[in-house]
């Protein structure tokens, strides 16, 4: 088995941007909006680079699916210490309907092609909140999965994962090759500094088409509508406790 790790990185609207819904409710406004790497993907990259620094793996390959702009996201991952990138070019209508199933098909195909030992993904993306890609990638590959990881330890061909579950932690051990998804507390991603950004420019990014991987990107999901959360109504100010009691009685609350 090679000692190669495949990491998926997604370009999403920056977490600090206020999201606006398109007037026709078909989606959200993305034009002219600041984008950056999905924070959970940053954690996944960080973990892979850490494993490389511990010499437990030899190569970190980052993958991103989308138009030309995702190259920027791949470069960021390379500046964080990944070795090389793969840009899976998906544009136009296909990019609009690109979802977890399509991405997991791509990831599974690449994991086989690259003979990866491990696939690390963020547990979910902050734009669609799906939390499906890791699980589906594992299913398509028929590999074990360790989701919501907050601690990862490699021991030979086995991997121990501490998982964040409701109200506690669960520790599991699975065989590699495997799929791991990163939770928030797994690590703190490093910042890309100038020497690393410059060196990232020298690293290779291969361009791949989904068809080259034999992946069909047809989506069976139709977005019916995207809506803003309901607006909070303005409150009423009362001067005294008596006024408050009167108001509550009026509203039928007491």
């Amino acid at each position: 088995m090679s000692s190669r790790v495949l990491v998926g990185v997604k370009r999403v609207i920056d977490y600090a941007v206020k999201i606006r819904v398109k007037p026709d409710r078909s989606g959200v406004v993305t034009d002219g909006v600041k984008h950056s790497m999905n924070p959970f993907c940053e954690i996944a990259v960080e973990e892979a680079v850490k494993l490389r620094e511990k010499k437990l793996i030899k190569e970190v390959v980052v993958v991103s699916c989308g138009p030309q702009q995702v190259m920027e996201t791949i470069r960021t991952a390379l500046a964080m210490g990944a070795d090389r990138g793969i840009h899976v070019e998906v544009t136009g209508k296909e990019y609009e309907t690109l979802g977890p199933l399509q991405v997991s098909k791509i990831m599974a195909a690449l994991a086989k092609k690259e003979e990866a030992k491990l696939v690390i993904l963020g547990k979910q993306a902050i734009d669609d909140d799906c939390n499906q890609t890791g699980q589906m990638t594992a299913a398509l590959l028929d590999w074990p999965q360790g989701t919501f990881a907050s601690e990862v330890t490699i021991d030979g061909d086995k991997i121990k994962i501490v998982r964040e579950i409701d109200g506690g932690l669960e520790t599991i051990q699975i065989n590699m090759p495997a799929v791991v998804t990163a939770d928030l507390r797994l690590n703190t991603p490093r910042y890309a500094t100038l020497p690393n950004i410059m060196k990232a420019k020298k690293k290779k990014i291969a361009n791949v088409k989904p068809a080259d991987l034999g992946v069909d990107l047809t989506s069976r999901i139709e977005t019916v509508s995207v809506d803003d959360p309901p607006q909070r109504l303005a409150g009423v100010k009362v001067e005294t406790v008596d006024d408050l009691v009167a108001k509550l009685k009026e509203a039928g609350n007491i």
Binding site: V49, R52, M80, M198
Partner: protein, 254 residues
Amino acid sequence: MLVGDILIMLASFRHSTVDIRILRGLYRFIYTRNSDIKRFVMENTEIVSDKTLTPEIRLNLFTPNCQFWHARPDTWPFSDPYWAIYWPGGQALSRYLLNNPEVSRGKKVLDLGSGCGASAIAAKLCSASHVVANDIDSVAALAIQLNCELNHLEPIPCVTDNLIGSEPESWDIILLGDMFYDEELADSLHTWLQKCIKTHNTQVYIGDPGRAQFENHSIKRVIQQLAQYTLPESVREENYGLTSSTVWLYKPDV
């Protein structure tokens, strides 16, 4: 100095790339004389001696105290300043030469892809009879001159033509630090080096921190490990993902 400050100020105001391009052009127009470029290099780097594998060599390098460390990489007015970083492969090579002065003593040495010139300087310090640095960046050539001065050496001649593929000269030694980040470059080097060895019995020394492009290249089958060094903390910070650097002797069957 003044133009530099304006450039940095505008960059921090997030002006459009067009403004940056105009200013870069203006910058190049002003900094046409070598003495001006040298002054610019000195003003925008810091003298580093400790914190590297070769504290006995002083170099003008980027550090976090330099304004461009924090600036956007595209605000740098010349081609990417790879010479402003002391690369880990070059550090290992220079350390090896200084530890084993008999390797380069009295020899005719070429430092290919010289960057900051540290390996060429190391060979010179070990009394090599003739040392030539080769880097296709003309600013690197000036930086190498400055670094020679810092180490009280006569300036080492620097060739800025791409020597890979040219008719080989009678080099006793060729030094290659961090030249295997790209498979195509590695392939063309492989062919050229074989020719150098065949015609002049040249000894080829390679410094590489274990980049995947080098580790996976067929060249790995024809090299012999000479020394391995653990990278100091500050060097690791500049090279995310890398923790050690190795010196190899290239031994193809020619």
